[in-house]
């Protein structure tokens, strides 16, 4: 007890910061709701309903909300895997949004131009999305490896290039009646299934969750269980040491960005052929990239963490319409999400706070009389 210091870590601390950050985020959200004269209880009821389908106030159950939760969680889990994979290699990939867009563009292309039975068409669509995302991710990876150009600025710029390229292709190549949508995809390219929709009371649930689950397992396996993943992590921990140990640092950087891009590209394909059934021109980025970044940060870039954080943020999104109908602007979800990210970013401050509190408690239990001076 005597040698406990500030910054002293214990087992389970890795989990503590995200959990505290989430709680503080919800606290901030509640305060905002209260300041603007609404009841946080309404907000929490809507969230519970979004998470479980149960409406406590009315005692009813509607599985549609669970379906919507999964729909909202799928793409942001994938973009989180994208951000997380690059982050484990020490790269800051803000480009998930752009990689997702080219993925969805490639998926649109294959869905519209290829005629094949579903068991061939769907894998082709998903594969095309992944390849496109990987190639888009390779650009910042290559520029980083070859010219040492910082990936943050490049990926931000590429997001906008992807947005305009997507619109250019959708509007000028595939053609669009209303300047938004392409023609409908053939049934064989779609992940939609009436059965899944019926068991969730008409939600948009589709088979997209299968590739998402596979992606999570692949992420875990590659990073934690393979020599290749070990090499990537080594580059993330210490580039120079990895180089000295004979690892191909530059090759690893490009490969890591490509794999990361493939996750985001898959997200694009899943959205386009699961949630929607046509290619779309976009007026602005939809925020999947930044959402994914938030998910990965809260999930500490771990496979399981990303799954849980993805479901949490998916719930915030799914509960939006419910809150809106109860008089609380649905943007509160974004506010809570941003607060959580901010608190995770304050990791250093939070860890300090936790260890100060702990020190205080430890001293208080050891010497109850002098508890007052313990926090110094």
């Amino acid at each position: 007890m005597a040698n406990k210091k500030l910054g002293d870590t214990r087992k389970g601390d890795a989990l503590l910061v995200p959990v505290v950050a989430v709680l503080l985020g919800f606290a901030v959200g509640s305060v905002v709701v209260m300041i603007t004269g609404k009841s946080p209880l309404v907000m929490f009821n809507a969230m519970l309903q979004g998470l479980t389908g149960l409406n406590v106030a009315r005692g009813s159950f509607n599985p549609r909300y669970i379906g919507e939760l999964v729909i909202q969680a799928m793409p942001i889990i994938l973009t989180a895997l994208c951000f997380g994979f690059a982050a484990r290699t020490g790269l800051f990939n803000i480009g998930a949004e752009g990689q997702l867009m080219v993925g969805s563009l490639a998926a649109t292309t294959v869905a519209l131009l290829v005629r094949a039975p579903a068991f061939i068409h769907i894998p082709l669509v998903l594969g095309a999305g992944m390849v496109a995302g990987a190639l888009w991710g390779a650009i910042p990876g290559y520029l980083k490896a070859r010219f040492n150009v910082h990936e943050v600025v490049v990926t931000i710029m590429l997001n906008y290039v992807a947005l305009h390229m997507n619109n250019l292709m959708i509007l000028n190549v595939f053609g669009s009646v209303d300047r938004v949508k392409t023609a409908q995809f053939p049934q064989s390219a779609l992940l939609k299934d009436p059965w899944l929709e019926s068991i969730t009371n008409g939600s948009r649930l589709n088979w997209g969750f299968v590739p998402v689950l596979i992606a999570i397992v692949v992420y875990w396996f590659v990073i934690e269980k393979t020599t290749f993943g070990y090499g990537l992590r080594a580059v993330g921990y210490n580039k120079d040491a990895a180089k000295y140990a004979g690892m191909k640092v530059n090759r690893n950087i490009v490969l890591s960005m490509m794999i990361a891009g493939a996750f985001a590209g898959l997200a694009g394909a899943v959205i386009t052929t699961g949630t929607f059934s046509f290619g779309r021109a976009l007026s602005a980025a939809e925020g999947y990239g930044f959402d994914g970044m938030a998910v990965a940060l809260v999930g500490s870039n771990q496979a399981v963490g990303i799954l849980l954080a993805g479901l949490l943020f998916g719930m915030l999104k799914a509960a939006g319409p419910l809150m809106q109908s109860n008089g609380i602007p649905k943007e509160i979800g974004g506010i809570i999400q941003a607060s959580i990210v901010l608190f995770v970013a304050m990791k250093y401050g939070l860890e300090r706070l936790i260890s100060v509190l702990r020190l205080r408690r430890d001293k208080a239990s050891a010497l109850p009389v002098t508890g007052e001076e313990a926090g110094v």
């Binding site: 905002v32 603007t36 800051f92 803000i94 520029l143 010219f147 040492n148 150009v149 910082h150 943050v152 600025v153 490049v154 931000i156 710029m157 590429l158 906008y160 290039v161 305009h164 390229m165 619109n167 250019l168 509007l171 000028n172 007026s283 602005a284 980025a285 925020g287 930044f290 970044m293 938030a294 940060l297 602007p329 943007e331 509160i332 979800g333 974004g334 506010i335 999400q337 941003a338 607060s339 990210v341 901010l342 995770v344 970013a345 304050m346 990791k347 250093y348 401050g349």
Partner: protein, 317 residues
């Protein structure tokens, strides 16, 4: 393409360019002090929301409403950027993550407040934004007059003044020298008795003021109300101008105006023979592609502040 068309394009290009330059100057202050600020976009949103709201509310009372709106935008931007300053300087948060959090927060917070204040997803529309001015005498000069002084938004002149002020403050005053030293080698600066914390706070808050002004300017010259897409990536174009302009106020002016022109060109492309066959999206994407190209060209040369984005740790050497 004829000469008249170029003259006609000028005021529009400068209208687009002014907020880009202002926000990029903000980024300059912040990054010169060593704090990366990718939250320019979010701060602009806050500034735009504050500017539009104040203009709408005060419009019936005073004709100065848009100018008060601009000032409120500045104040709101400063307040909002304090969050970035506090987390990234005092709490040693990763500056990219903190900036991203601010960008997400801005979108949520502004629309949330719109719903509380105006009961819709956007602010109420104002009847007039800033009014155009014609400078007497100067507008009579041939060629330059109609290009720069006839029917112009006054915010363009504000932007030009800010470029000069920024250049003077950052490169000609002791404060500027200290600010830059914190962005190059904070530990060395600290050893000379400079308070790195307060210099970095000054840098980030200045960036908040300028980006807030930029947001308010943008909504009051190019829009009729604040919506979630009012800023549509201009903060990131400002970031691009900062890189393209090599973290120098004159470079930023050039880059910002160039990007303003490339946006204007997209409106005029159909009348210009060589450009008519190109889709509009090419012009939209141009600034971003050029920035990546510039980054590759600058690669290996030390153009940006050396300690930009580095967390200041007193114990490090």
């Amino acid at each position: 393409m004829n000469f008249g068309m170029i003259l006609e394009m000028f005021p529009i290009a400068l209208m687009f360019g002014a907020p880009i330059v202002m926000a990029a100057l903000g980024g300059l202050f912040s990054e010169r002090s060593g704090v990366t600020n990718i939250a320019l976009e979010g701060i602009m949103m806050i500034g735009a929301f504050a500017g539009a709201s104040v203009t709408v509310v005060l419009e019936p009372i005073t004709a100065m409403a848009p100018w008060l709106g601009l000032l409120t935008g500045v104040a709101a931007g400063m307040l909002f950027s304090l969050l970035h300053a506090f987390t990234s300087i005092h709490l040693k948060a990763d500056q990219i993550i903190s900036g991203t959090a601010l960008n997400i927060l801005a979108g949520g917070l502004t629309i949330y407040l719109c719903q509380i204040l105006f009961h819709q997803q956007r602010t109420r529309a104002f009847s007039y934004g800033l009014r155009k001015v014609t400078v007497p005498l100067l507008s009579k000069i041939p060629v330059i007059g109609p290009m720069l002084f006839y029917e112009m938004y006054p915010t363009f002149y504000v932007a030009i003044v800010l470029v000069v002020v920024t250049w003077f403050v950052v490169f000609k005053t002791p404060f500027g020298l200290r600010l830059r030293s914190c962005g190059e080698h904070p530990q060395a600066a600290a050893s000379m008795g400079i308070n790195v914390y307060s210099m970095r706070y000054a840098g980030v808050i200045a960036s908040g003021a300028l980006a807030g002004l930029a947001g308010a300017t943008m909504v009051l010259t190019q829009d009729i109300q604040y919506t979630v897409t009012s800023i549509h990536g201009t903060g990131f174009i400002a970031l691009a101008s900062l890189v393209f302009g090599k973290w120098n106020p004159w470079g930023v002016l050039g880059a910002g105006m160039f990007f303003g022109f490339s946006q204007t060109l997209s409106y005029y492309a159909k009348d210009i023979k060589i450009l008519a066959s190109l889709p509009l999206e090419v012009f939209y994407a141009l600034p971003y592609v050029l920035t990546i190209a510039a980054l590759v060209v600058f690669a290996g040369k030390s153009v940006g502040p050396k300690a930009n984005g580095e967390i200041y740790d007193q114990g490090k050497r």
